[in-house]
Symmetry: C2
Subunit: 480 residues, 2 copies
Amino acid sequence: MNQPNDLRSTLEPFLAACAAAIGAPHVLTDPHDTAPYLTDWRRRYQGAARAVLCPATTDEVAALVKLAVEHRVAIVPQGGNTGLAGGATPDTGGREAVLSLRRLNRVREIDPHNNTITVEAGVILADVQARAADAGRLFPLSLAAEGSCTIGGNLATNAGGTGVLRYGTTRELCLGVEVVTPQGDVWDGLRGLRKDNTGYDLRDLYIGAEGTLGIITAAVMKLHPQPAARVTALAALGSAHAALDFLSLAQRFAGPLLTGFELMSDFCLQLVGRHFPQLRYPFDGRHAQIVLLELSDSESEEHARALFERLMETALEAGLVADAVVAESLAQSQAFWNLREHIPLAQAQEGLNVKHDIGVPISRIGHFIEETDAAIAAAVPGARMVTFGHLGDGNLHYNVQAPEGGDAKAFLAENESTLNRIVYDSVNRHRGTISAEHGLGQLKIDEAAHYKSAVELQLMRALKQALDPLNLMNPGKVLR
Amino acid sequence: MNQPNDLRSTLEPFLAACAAAIGAPHVLTDPHDTAPYLTDWRRRYQGAARAVLCPATTDEVAALVKLAVEHRVAIVPQGGNTGLAGGATPDTGGREAVLSLRRLNRVREIDPHNNTITVEAGVILADVQARAADAGRLFPLSLAAEGSCTIGGNLATNAGGTGVLRYGTTRELCLGVEVVTPQGDVWDGLRGLRKDNTGYDLRDLYIGAEGTLGIITAAVMKLHPQPAARVTALAALGSAHAALDFLSLAQRFAGPLLTGFELMSDFCLQLVGRHFPQLRYPFDGRHAQIVLLELSDSESEEHARALFERLMETALEAGLVADAVVAESLAQSQAFWNLREHIPLAQAQEGLNVKHDIGVPISRIGHFIEETDAAIAAAVPGARMVTFGHLGDGNLHYNVQAPEGGDAKAFLAENESTLNRIVYDSVNRHRGTISAEHGLGQLKIDEAAHYKSAVELQLMRALKQALDPLNLMNPGKVLR
């Protein structure tokens, strides 16, 4: 790292002012220091920036934004840099400044009676979970990147994950936010209230806006009681249509105790078996679809298991389910989740693929898969469908693997845009979404503009213009 | 009613154009016809209007708004006219037009597999509940006015009610909306998706905006599985502080099965006993606080009752609860709810009172009651506190009854503003809200401006200005 004095004397005026505001060691300009902030998690985007700014407090963030306004410097807010749509990567021009929230990493308050935790934007998701658990509470947001993503990034992208069926998305887990506006003012909306009807819902406007309307610096998040036990089960079914009927049945039996309902096509499990042979396939024969169910029970493991047994018996008798297995231990529950979680890893082992994070109304999932599979088979022969996801949320990772044995890179280069068009057109016909949980970032900005109505785009632009008239907050993300 | 031809020839140009757009019989100008639309439910406000417009479709709403823009006529949207803050009553100038959504009353779709119902704004809340029940589903929004309020009004005010603890407010029950913008465009945001991260959250901006940013004409609402049984219980406690510990215990035992947790002070039940002696007081002695609990169980009545018995046993042993009774029949469950529901009626019988719909963090409720009771006792001797509400949501109806036997009207005229200031200042110190579930309307617009920060008011004004630059949508409501 450069010496502060050297740095300050050689810096352009904006960075010199930033160094004065937050301390020179926290204004990174050395390429070695800035590199990790300039490329995204999936390494799709390589940006450049005049600096990476690392404030430690809300007031420092506000001071930096005021300087950015004064010097007309665009700001790219960044949390754990684990986004999947390039939303936290600056453009290639080198004129933007990355503003990292990671040093805002205090848990400000935990209030078990109110079931809330107040955290700064840079707190790692796993740390929020851990602090909640220490207080005997559950913070249910959970996703693959939880060891490195930040709660601020989760809020900016309205992250989903595996608990949405019961607990909702990040939006539904947030009661209040603190925001630095594009003018450098601090809005203290840190309310820990379940009900508050006193004006416009600013909170939800900032959540999911990917840093384009202001910078979330802290939030009050909801906690839940810790369940006494979590138990999983697997069910084998003949089709995605059957899985829908099975979902209705499971919800009738288990109500809000049902916290997971994940679909995995047979090919997903074949891939897992090929690349992770140590993970045991749990059924004797093959089945078109496997569903992983999770119950979070307030009573006991025995109660959850008995509930599962009754559900499976009814489903088997009704012919909805061909086979089923209920986990008999925590280890077996974990083993079932492992199968699900190894699908993306098996996909990576298998080679290049095109990913889609789509959502449709839950009732349309069977039709969506049938129609889109058929359209892809006709247009791109040999494409292999890797279909899995959060069926209970209507959210599929509807991924396409190149044909076995061929040149995957050439195949994808030739077919990616065709595949995207087929998938997104089908999503659009079923009134779905092209980004269920990953956001738009820079990756899907044009696709979103293609499918959204003129009225919606106009409303979004009016809000952006009203709140950020200088277009300094993460420009080129979400909308142009 | 006037004859269409007469009407059209005598009307000012705006109303003539409206009559051409939606049919003259649906443009009400006769005072006999318009009267029910011009005063609010609580008869606090008496407005005037140049007409009441009754369109039947979204396109008709859009056509009327375009005419309003052309003729610069302000629009006051109205649903069932059951609001408690005057948000649907026009001002006294007689230049505004009331736009009633009641004829938009179709259920457009019900999708049990997706657990959604798509309804127009004018559908009565009880009808939404009934249609959901016909499809074997629960629409959990429930409140006193459900027989006459409309889902559009519920959305405009983000209504709360008795199911919030488990199912959330109207906001949390809504997946998508259709809106006529202040320019008369139709935004079709009728998405039935649990997850959708493709841009700004317009939906939540319109929810709770009380018709000041546009007119919600239809919505996709979430449904839930029907519980197999609902059982209630009453517990007697020594203080509101004990009720908080009891809430934590109940949530640990019952998790998401706990759907109601209502607090009633002893004086509330004394008033009920005085004015409705047929309602039996369920305990032998008197207790400072009574809590009504409700379980919604996916298994059976027996299971719910057994869970309650275990909970009460633990709470009694821990000394948290002094006495408890679990309903042994549906009739007894209903009798317990009756006690709670008769509190406002008993208050009305007792005479004039000042109502507050406040919310604080749940953990602060005990302190809030203690401090505010003491401040009121000191400043307004003789005032009687009628404290009850949705403790599980942190939402109290913290009402003040005039002293026994005196001139209630004179007492309130003298003390209402003092009482409001004491209550709202205390709410503010505890980081609470002056309107938890009723909205601002015209009743609390100045109070809200008094307590909100300059930054928040500025953000709200920026949004209003961006979306409704001519200020034609329900002016003088929510913010000036």
